[in-house]
């Protein structure tokens, strides 16, 4: 296995001991991008300063100034997180859309930790969708990677970087993590600052890591988490040592399985993989507690009301100036129809949220985590305008969100990690959620499962050279000098 494919827990000591250099790792990442990203289309920009940052990282390492486990590690940034040395587009090519060259809080934290910000990954325009065109899934190039953090999902799954940043408003970290066979952690709302992240829906937006392993997610979370008074929603809650969750037994932990809403409307392969994983968690010593959650039938209306109204408020000036006409068709429609959400509908959605949070808190009195599928299905074709599951037809947006949005409404931490493959060889994701600010238990259970079933060791296979078929992309991502 090449160094770029190693987990951070292996890379960090090698970098610190001088057995591996940040320069070598960064060169390897850039070479991988050059060879493979013509097919994946996961990056929209490469960082001209990446090699200089790697040289500086090596200089610091040689001088004994080790900044932590991310020092010298190439990490990609979703293109809705502002960066001082790379342009941000939020996935939009529309006229009049421009963002400043400043670091978002998450980019600044990664940079301060010595990470090499390798480039910007593609997002569905304004993070408003599960498809992320034209990015393709490394497991099957005829399928989507999921979204909206689809570029980050494909880049990590495709071995183009060690980790990436994602953002999640209804599932946008966890959905591509599930579809791309990687780990994606949506932390508790308020755990990670959104300062400098292009807003989608203020009270639902989260930022978090997308990685190949659970321990990598813990390492990146340790850097991202922390209070930031410049984000009004950020909480001043102490940050535990996430790595202390790793390697812990789950014996005696109470694993909840919510039998309504999360099961019965999924592809059979998804349901089967999760049931097997639940049995496995029981064999690892957890006690399985089955229960139903009331009021989930109202959740979709609530998140749609909040997300649509918030997104339209954010885009209001563009809408009034007619600039949304230049947005992609699906995003333009979502931004325009937010006008139809009445103030009363919006506030009832915020009231319902309180009900759901109370219901979930009651459930967490009797369980430590809730497990279930992340997405009802595996990666689908980009041409699908409807999705059929067990005879029922749904839009890709509502189908892909169905199992993830609850934890945006409640702000609970939730992770997706691989738990198997379907008969087409496409990854299936398991979701593990816990009560607010209990990421450490989420990581503990996820790591315990991953150690018993290291699905992360199975990687997509690639042709030796996946050539670019888009001249503009190839030009923008030309190899570094």
């Amino acid at each position: 296995m090449e160094p770029i494919d190693q987990p951070i827990e292996t890379l960090a000591p090698a970098l610190r001991a001088g057995k591996l250099s940040a320069t070598e790792l960064t060169e390897a990442a850039l070479e991988r991008i050059r060879l493979r990203d013509g097919a994946f289309k996961s990056f929209v920009h490469l960082n001209d300063s990446a090699m200089a940052a790697a040289i500086e990282a090596d200089r610091d390492l040689r001088g004994g100034h080790w900044r932590g486990p991310l020092h010298g590690v190439p990490i990609a940034v979703k293109d809705n997180c502002l960066t001082a040395d790379m342009p941000t587009t939020a996935g939009s090519m529309a006229l009049g859309v421009a963002f400043p060259l400043v670091d978002s809080a998450v980019a600044a934290r990664l940079r301060a930790a010595g990470a090499i910000l390798i480039g910007k990954t593609r997002t569905h325009e304004f993070a408003w969708g599960p498809v992320c065109p034209p990015t393709r899934n490394p497991w099957d190039l005829s399928r989507i990677p999921g979204g909206s953090s689809g570029g980050s999902g494909a880049a990590v799954a495709g071995g183009l970087c060690v980790a990436a940043l994602g953002t999640d408003t209804g599932g946008s970290i966890r959905i591509p993590a599930s579809l791309c066979g990687i780990v994606g952690l949506k932390p508790t709302y308020g755990r990670v600052s959104r300062k400098g992240i292009v807003p989608h829906s203020w009270s639902l937006d989260h930022a978090g890591p997308m990685t190949r392993t659970v321990s990598d997610a813990a390492a990146v979370m340790a850097t991202l988490a922390g209070y930031d008074p410049s984000d009004p929603a950020c909480s001043d809650v102490s940050v535990p040592d996430y790595t202390s969750a790793l390697g812990q037994s789950i014996s005696g932990l109470r694993v909840g399985v919510c039998r309504n809403h999360f099961f019965g409307r999924n592809q059979a392969a998804v349901d089967n993989a999760i049931e097997v994983a639940i049995v496995d968690l029981a064999e690892a010593g957890a006690s399985i507690v089955e229960f139903d959650l009331p009021n989930l039938d109202y959740g979709l209306g609530a998140i749609l009301a909040i997300e649509l109204a918030s997104s339209t408020a954010y885009h209001d000036q563009a809408l009034q100036a007619g600039r949304t006409a230049h947005y992609s068709k699906d995003v333009r429609t979502m931004v325009e129809i937010g006008r139809f959400v009445t103030a009363v509908d919006y506030l009832k959605a915020e009231q319902l949220r309180h009900v759901l949070m109370t219901d979930l808190a009651r459930a967490f009195d009797t369980v430590d985590v809730i497990v279930g599928p992340t997405v009802p299905l595996t990666a689908w074709s980009p041409d699908a305008d409807h999705i059929e599951i067990r005879g029922a037809s749904e839009s890709p947006l509502t189908a892909s969100w169905r199992l993830s949005y609850l934890y945006n409404l409640t702000g609970s931490p939730a992770i997706s990690l691989p738990c198997g493959f379907d008969s087409d060889g496409l990854p299936i994701g398991m979701q593990i959620a816990a009560k607010a600010f209990d990421e450490i238990t989420v990581l503990r259970v996820a790591h315990a499962y991953e150690r018993r079933h290291p699905w992360c060791a199975t990687r997509p296979s690639f042709a030796p050279n996946l050539a670019f078929d888009d001249d503009r992309t190839a030009q923008r991502l030309k190899p570094m000098a």
Binding site: S203, Y298, R339
Partner: protein, 66 residues
């Protein structure tokens, strides 16, 4: 499908909803909203009058970090 809306009522609705340049796409957008409205209508039947919305006004926000 419902009957065509009286033009003056339609104009008033557009003004109430703040619909501007996108008004030429009103029919298309209403059609796109139909399935979403079905979900939102489920909320409308709930009696939540005793439930505080989860968004809570906090007058201390401007003083944070000072």
């Amino acid at each position: 499908m419902s009957e065509p809306i009286d033009p003056s009522v339609g104009a008033l609705l557009r003004e109430l909803l703040g619909i501007g340049p996108e008004s030429e796409r009103l029919d298309e957008n209403l059609a796109a909203y139909a399935s979403i409205l079905e979900e939102i209508k489920k909320l409308r039947v709930l009696d939540l009058s005793d439930v505080h919305p989860v968004v809570i006004f906090d007058p201390s926000i401007p003083y944070r970090g000072r």
